[in-house]
């Protein structure tokens, strides 16, 4: 573990903006995709078989 404090962790050695934008965008896209498929599933009117 190389982080002395939480501030240091967020700063990512000065690259915080780039690192957190990358991870944030990836997380957002994945969550959005799951929700989109969920809504599509509901809209498809599938009676859950399982």
């Amino acid at each position: 573990m190389q982080w002395g404090s939480l501030t240091e962790f967020w700063a990512m050695g000065g690259y915080g903006l780039y690192v957190w934008t990358s991870f944030g965008a990836t997380a957002l896209c994945m969550v959005w995709e799951v929700l989109a498929v969920w809504r599509r599933h509901a809209a498809a009117g599938s009676r859950d078989v399982s």
Partner: protein, 253 residues
């Protein structure tokens, strides 16, 4: 096939596949959550800071898995499309249809995270480098395949047209993969290869591979879920419910 005691062909029918996929989705989702959690932990708390790139290199833990998935998913999508064309099998086309949006999303993410990595290390968000350009073309291919399908009303024609497009486009995948070797690119070479030992610390490679596995499990889960939507949408048949009555048949139509 019969030596396993399971009739695998049974699951090639949408009716049998739909509930099977429903039972598999929670397992793949759980595996994805665990693997991505472990990958993030190793990536942020175990892997050391890079001596050249500082902490900016940590973008690799989403960038490389996303880029790999963008190529893997394209090849798998094209394989299903080819199988569909060869066997004239509807479920194969449905699989190809279910994979495309996830592949497009990972291609977009590979480009976005790449640009986030390029700015601090190269000083530019974007360069017309062979690797970047061929990956951008892959995004256009995914979008083209999705739009081509959407633009044809006849489902069987839409299936075949987008399958041909997907198959022809496979040629771009080796171009993306080998671009860093064939041309002088700003993009760095392969970090991991089958023939040479990795050029990174073991913990970095571990985090990257665990994240990739996590993205694989995520892709399988979300593709299966979308496959279920596609099956229901395309075959709005009353047989989906367990005890569909004639009344329900009438309502469904």
């Amino acid at each position: 096939m019969s030596f396993t005691g399971i009739n695998w062909f049974k699951y090639s029918s949408p009716q049998a596949f739909h509930p099977l996929a429903g039972r598999m989705i929670p397992w793949f989702s759980a595996a994805a959550l665990v693997l991505i959690g472990v990958g993030l932990y190793i990536g942020f708390f175990v892997a050391p800071t890079d001596f050249q790139q500082g902490d900016a290199y940590r973008i690799i833990f989403v960038h490389v898995p996303a880029a790999w998935m963008s190529m893997f998913l394209y090849v798998i999508m094209a394989a299903w499309a080819g199988l569909g064309l060869g066997l004239n099998a509807r479920p194969s086309f449905m699989m190809a249809q279910a994979i495309a949006p996830t592949g497009a999303m990972f291609t977009f993410l590979a480009l976005l995270t790449g640009s986030m990595w390029g700015k601090p290390t190269w000083g530019a968000w974007w360069v017309w480098d062979a690797r970047l350009t061929s990956e951008l073309i892959l995004l256009f291919q995914y979008i083209g395949i999705i739009l081509l399908r959407a633009s044809i009303d006849d489902l069987r024609r839409a299936d075949r047209a987008s399958a041909v497009f997907a198959l022809v486009g496979v040629v771009n995948v080796p171009i993306i993969y080998f671009s860093v070797r064939w041309w002088n690119t700003l993009h760095q070479g392969a970090s991991v290869s089958m023939t040479a030992s990795p050029k990174m610390a073991a913990t970095m490679v571990t985090a990257m591979l665990v994240m990739t596995l996590g993205f694989w499990m995520y892709s399988i889960a979300v593709t299966l879920a979308r496959m279920r939507c596609v099956i229901v949408e395309r075959e709005r048949q009353p047989a989906w419910g367990k005890n569909a009555s004639i009344q329900e048949v009438a309502e469904a139509r």
